[in-house]
């Protein structure tokens, strides 16, 4: 099956592949990331787990090209081989505005998607696009809300909707360490999981919730400066490296 770039729901083709080859990131004397090699296939939800300071966010930023690194990022698409620049959608861990900032969800969409000044008005088309995208993440009712008034989970869904515009080849999600309630988190994982199945995206998710990861991610990377383990939940959660960091409990819970 072809990996078409049209936006209709379809089953996974697994043919498009993003290859991370020999990523190394060094800050001064600190080796933040060491020899990272990963193949990310479309239709896969790859979760990155690891202790604090393992370099998880740095890895995403390296993929985004915002952190100086060695190594290559190769994107292979069966349709055209010169798809050198894949579209990358990115959901940051947090935004750096204070709660009082008068920017609405609609403002965020318009300013990201169009050049028409948002202080004048929103174009009808931008509003339609925003509603359509927000509906995908069950957040269309938030369109006129101030960003600062959203809960952690709502903000995360809004950012996800934004990252889906345009539909990316690779979706990078940096999950906040805290501030999202249990229900919001489960909803988010469900949505991401649906996206994986419906849009054939390559999804990379930094996660702090081992239970949800085991349930929804089909590939798990245990990262601690280098890749310590890779595989599905049962494989990874049973490795010595995993137990050393997160304890024995998880392996038992899964089996």
């Amino acid at each position: 099956m072809k990996c078409e770039r049209n936006r209709t729901p379809k089953t996974s083709c697994g043919l498009c592949c993003t290859k991370i080859v020999d990523f190394n990131v060094v800050y001064g004397k600190n080796h933040i990331l060491k020899d990272i090699n990963l193949h990310l296939h479309c239709g896969n939800l790859t979760a990155i787990i690891g202790p604090n300071g393992a370099g998880k966010t740095t890895l995403l930023k390296a993929i985004l090209g915002q952190v100086r690194h060695t190594g290559q990022l190769k994107f292979v698409n069966p349709e055209d081989n010169n798809a050198a620049n894949p579209t990358i959608g990115y959901v940051p861990q947090k935004l750096n505005f204070d709660a009082g900032t008068p920017v609405s969800v609609m403002d965020l969409f318009s300013s990201s998607l169009t050049n028409f000044p948002v202080w004048l008005r929103h174009k009808k088309k931008s509003r339609e696009t925003a509603i359509e995208s927000l509906t995908k993440v069950k957040a269309e009712h938030l369109i006129n809300c101030k960003l600062g008034d959203l809960s952690g989970g709502e903000l995360q869904r809004v950012l996800l909707a934004l990252a889906l515009n345009p539909i990316p080849d690779i979706l990078l999600l940096d999950e906040p360490v805290s501030g999202i309630d249990e229900r919001g988190l489960t909803l988010f994982y469900k949505l991401v999981s649906d996206l994986r199945l419906n849009y054939d995206l390559t999804i990379v998710l930094i996660s702090h919730d081992l239970e949800l990861v085991a349930k929804y991610a089909n590939r798990i990377v245990l990262l601690n400066k280098e890749i310590k383990a890779y595989g599905n939940a049962i494989e990874v959660y049973n490795t010595e490296e995993f137990k050393e960091i997160f304890g024995e409990v998880w392996a038992k819970a899964l089996s």
Binding site: L64, Y90, V103, S104
Partner: protein, 276 residues
């Protein structure tokens, strides 16, 4: 100019509006205050209050340098020095990330002191106190045309770059991931602020210009829910306090710039009451 004056005579049959310096000042305020109101929205969003303050302080060094090298118009050296400082601060900020406030503080205090030291040599500093509090009533028709040009410049800039700057202010990484050149945008925005601060200083004064760049948006954000209302309120607050401040300063005989700031200060506290 004559036509505008006669229209104003017709529309404003008041005592204070009889004098042409008051007419000039009023015209300037009608154009300057919305400009500053618009600018203040992003200055406050981007947490650049301290930055614009530093640029204001740098003006003294700019004047001093201009006098040292014998320029007839100190505005030239003021603009060049402010641009240099603005770009330097942005580049350092991007290299080092976190301690921007300290960096700006260092440059700001050095600039201020250097300017005062050079200008006070020989005990002549009182000549320059005009720059500290400004004199809006001294504005000339030629300068009003300058103000109009700045106004158009800001509007054009806001039309072209606002959306991108807004995304940068929300999250630079998100902006970069959407192909926005963050450093470039920050540099040109900083340069725009530098130019406007320096030009406004002649009329509004170093000590007061920053208030007009912060207070309108600070008050507006208390009661706004989105970018559009943020702009509308910021411009209205700036404009209304400009007019009220000018008329008040005429009747009670105070410095116009500072009086305007006090009026907008009152508006700020009222906005706190209505904060949602």
């Amino acid at each position: 100019m004559e036509i505008i004056y006669s229209i104003m005579n017709f529309l404003l049959p008041f005592e204070w509006a009889k004098y042409s310096f008051m007419k000039n000042a009023l015209l300037a305020i009608i154009i300057v205050t919305p400009t500053l109101g618009v600018l203040s929205t992003l200055i406050v969003n981007n947490k650049m209050a301290f930055f614009s303050d530093a640029i204001g302080h740098s003006a003294l060094t700019g004047i001093a340098v201009g006098i040292l090298i014998g320029l007839k118009l100190p505005i030239v050296s003021m603009v060049i020095y402010a641009l240099f400082l603005a770009i330097l601060i942005i580049i350092i900020k991007n290299k080092t990330k976190n301690f921007t406030d300290t960096i700006i503080g260092v440059f700001s205090s050095i600039s201020l002191s250097l300017g005062v030291v050079i200008l006070s040599k020989g005990g002549n500093f009182s000549k320059y106190t005009n720059y500290l509090i400004g004199d809006l009533l001294s504005i000339t028709p030629k300068e009003i045309i300058m103000v109009v040009i700045i106004f158009i410049l800001v509007l054009a800039f806001w039309g072209i770059f606002f959306n991108k700057l807004l995304v940068v202010s929300i999250n630079p990484s998100l902006a970069k991931s959407r192909g926005i050149s963050v450093l470039f945008l920050e540099i040109i925005f900083a340069s725009l602020i530098a130019i406007i601060v320096i030009f406004s200083i002649q009329w509004i004064g170093i000590l007061i210009i920053n208030s007009l760049l912060i207070l309108p948006a600070a008050a507006a954000r208390n009661i706004s829910k989105n970018v559009k209302s943020y702009h509308i309120f910021s411009v209205i607050f700036s404009f209304v306090s400009g007019i009220i401040g000018l008329i008040l300063s005429y009747y009670i005989g105070t410095a116009t710039g500072a009086t305007i700031v006090l009026v907008i200060g009152v508006i700020y506290f009222i906005s706190l009451i209505f904060k949602n």
